[in-house]
Symmetry: C2
Subunit: 186 residues, 2 copies
């Protein structure tokens, strides 16, 4: 029964609409990448946002290191949250593209927003990376000392949180490439 | 299916001329934006790359502030140079799109490279902005002191050089949007 359906149905549909099949494949890839990118940004925002280390030193009052001590890390948390929210909201549109693979205007709109969001995420990840780098290595010329000897746990957390963001940037870039190919086929 | 093909064929011949006209308009805008973006990145790279301030203080040997004292600023100069080179090299392809407005594969290739390059430029501009901000304001929590009181001219130059880069990012984003629209029309 199934084989019959395949024999009678598959041949005609594949020859008739090869583009639709490829576009559907792209839509599935888009959906999966979007999901993983959302998880990546969520993980990054959470890891960075919950970072908190308190040092008890006898001679000084309590010293606490938190992400919002550094504007770049605050920007990182906000940008990752915005991009995560956008990615989740864009999933229904991605499903719509799977169902109606010939859609054009919505694809253009999504590509425009994807581009803007990947730029926001790149800016945030890059800004946070600079601060993480300075925290680890410092800079002798500017006389900025590394703070990671003191705040060991804090530094590990903020370094780790960059990973999710960079993975998401890669996935969103692939989504943009796939959208461009899908647009040209339509 | 056949009827559909005939229909779309007829429609395309009727709409062909205005579409071609619009695509040519987009190609001209693409060319102009690409030119200005190249100038912006060139200006940024040159301004940052030639920054050099020497302070003569009696008690210390000569103190010199240069862009390559800070890795982020070095990255900024390199990234701006790469993007400027890419933009200049991509101008012939942009002219080709003006002549053959129905070209698809070259448009996709250009869109993919444009996306990668705008991400590189965003990362570089963002990294440099963090360093410029720290140079101006410092950070009390990390005990990083502002260095702009001493290196006044240096700070003015590095702040100014960011402008060209951010203008170029805006123009390259518009190029990507235009490419997406042109791709969907073809």
């Amino acid at each position: 029964m199934k084989a019959e359906a395949v024999e009678s149905g598959e041949a005609s549909t594949i020859i008739a609409t090869p583009k639709r099949g490829l576009n559907r494949g792209i839509s599935i890839a888009d959906l999966i990448l979007r999901g993983f990118a959302a998880i990546g940004t969520f993980g990054s925002a959470m890891t960075m946002g919950t970072t908190n280390e308190t040092l008890a030193i006898f001679t000084q009052p309590l010293i606490r290191a938190r992400y919002n001590d550094l504007p770049s890390l605050t920007f990182f948390v906000i940008a990752n949250s915005i991009v995560c929210g956008y990615l989740v909201l864009s999933i229904p549109l991605s499903i719509f593209h799977f169902i109606r693979s010939e859609a054009k205007i919505t694809r253009i709109i999504l590509l425009i927003f994807d581009t803007a969001m990947v730029e926001l995420l790149t800016a945030a990840a890059s800004a946070a990376t600079v601060v993480v780098y300075l925290a680890h290595k410092g800079n002798a010329s500017a006389n900025w000392l590394a703070i990671c000897q003191q705040f060991d746990n804090f530094c590990e957390r903020i370094s780790g949180s960059l990973l999710g963001s960079f993975a998401s940037i890669t996935m969103m870039t692939l989504i943009i490439f796939a959208s461009a190919v899908a647009l040209s086929w339509n």
